[in-house]
């Protein structure tokens, strides 16, 4: 069981309560596809991913980025049971999508950088620590059902 401090709970709740999903989601996913181009392997049917501009302007990437970010909502709502919350999604990513779980860390690093850019001064060291801890738990849970 993951132990969360009051500060961590409040920080995560706060960040997601004012999250602009349609801005941050697309920004995080497109950044991931640009910075770690091998992640494009999972998006063969997304059309034009030939260069950074194409990726950033791609509507399918944008839509999917938003979807992924909303996927974090269930963890935000149930921080004490993230592992069980993601059991089904973990099976999906393993059995159906065949995503290498290392990619979850890459995306979470990009999300951290995007949120850091958005929140500025508010995203100080302690907030960063809480955010990264939260994402680490999600990432572990998503990789849990792989075999």
């Amino acid at each position: 069981m993951v132990e969360w401090t009051d500060f961590e709970r409040a920080t995560i709740a706060d960040i997601f309560s004012k999250m602009e999903y349609e801005v941050i989601g697309p920004a995080a996913l497109s950044r991931c596809l640009v910075v770690y181009p091998w992640t494009q392997r999972y998006f063969g049917n997304f059309g034009n991913l030939y260069n950074a501009a194409a990726i950033i302007g791609n509507p399918m990437v944008a839509k999917h980025g938003t979807t992924i970010l909303h996927g974090l909502d269930r963890a935000v709502k149930n921080m004490d049971n993230i592992k069980s919350e993601y059991a089904e999604l973990s099976v999906l990513h393993s059995e159906k999508l065949h995503v290498d779980p290392d990619n979850f860390k890459l995306l979470s690093d990009c999300l951290t950088i995007v949120v850091s850019a958005k929140l500025g001064k508010e995203f100080n060291g302690e907030v960063q620590a809480a955010f990264q801890k939260f994402l680490a738990v999600v990432v572990t849970s998503l990789g849990r059902q792989y075999h």
Binding site: V35, A117, G120
Partner: protein, 144 residues
């Protein structure tokens, strides 16, 4: 050795010129974040009187590290040769586990995004990530 393209180098140098006025702030901020977010890194600084993230020692050290990065930018065309002395220092004296270079690089980039949200675009991000990885590799060159 490195896969840094001409474009990557160009992007790194351009972005560096943009942030050059804030290099010390980036360094001390990145250092503080590293100590907070990755507390295991404090093990390297047990000899400091004060290991807290915003202590004078931490601030000074962040500036030192960032000075090293700035130096590496000037040696971007041959990091292995340019960073030979620093590599020997890290290999034989400091003996920092190279996994920590990745951690520091991540913290530096989080700060760059934080302080320069408009300029740290995905294109600059990938160039900087590649550069910092190449830097880390050059730093670990003399380890074994």
């Amino acid at each position: 050795m490195t896969s840094l393209t001409a474009k990557d180098k160009d992007r790194v140098k351009t972005f560096w010129a943009q942030v050059s006025g804030k290099v010390e702030d980036i360094g001390s901020e990145a250092m503080a974040r590293m100590l907070i977010v990755y507390p295991q890194t404090k093990t390297y600084f047990a000899h400091w009187k004060d290991v807290s993230p915003f202590s004078p020692s931490a601030k000074k050290h962040g500036i030192t590290v960032m000075g090293g990065v700035a130096f590496a930018v000037t040696k971007i065309d041959d990091l292995k040769a340019g960073l030979l002395n620093l590599s020997e220092l890290h290999a034989f004296t400091l003996r920092v586990d190279p996994a920590n270079f990745k951690i520091m690089s991540h913290c530096i980039m989080v700060v760059m995004a934080n302080m320069f949200p408009e300029d740290f675009t995905p294109q600059i991000h990938v160039a900087m990530d590649k550069f910092l990885s190449a830097l880390a590799l050059a730093l670990a060159e003399k380890y074994r």
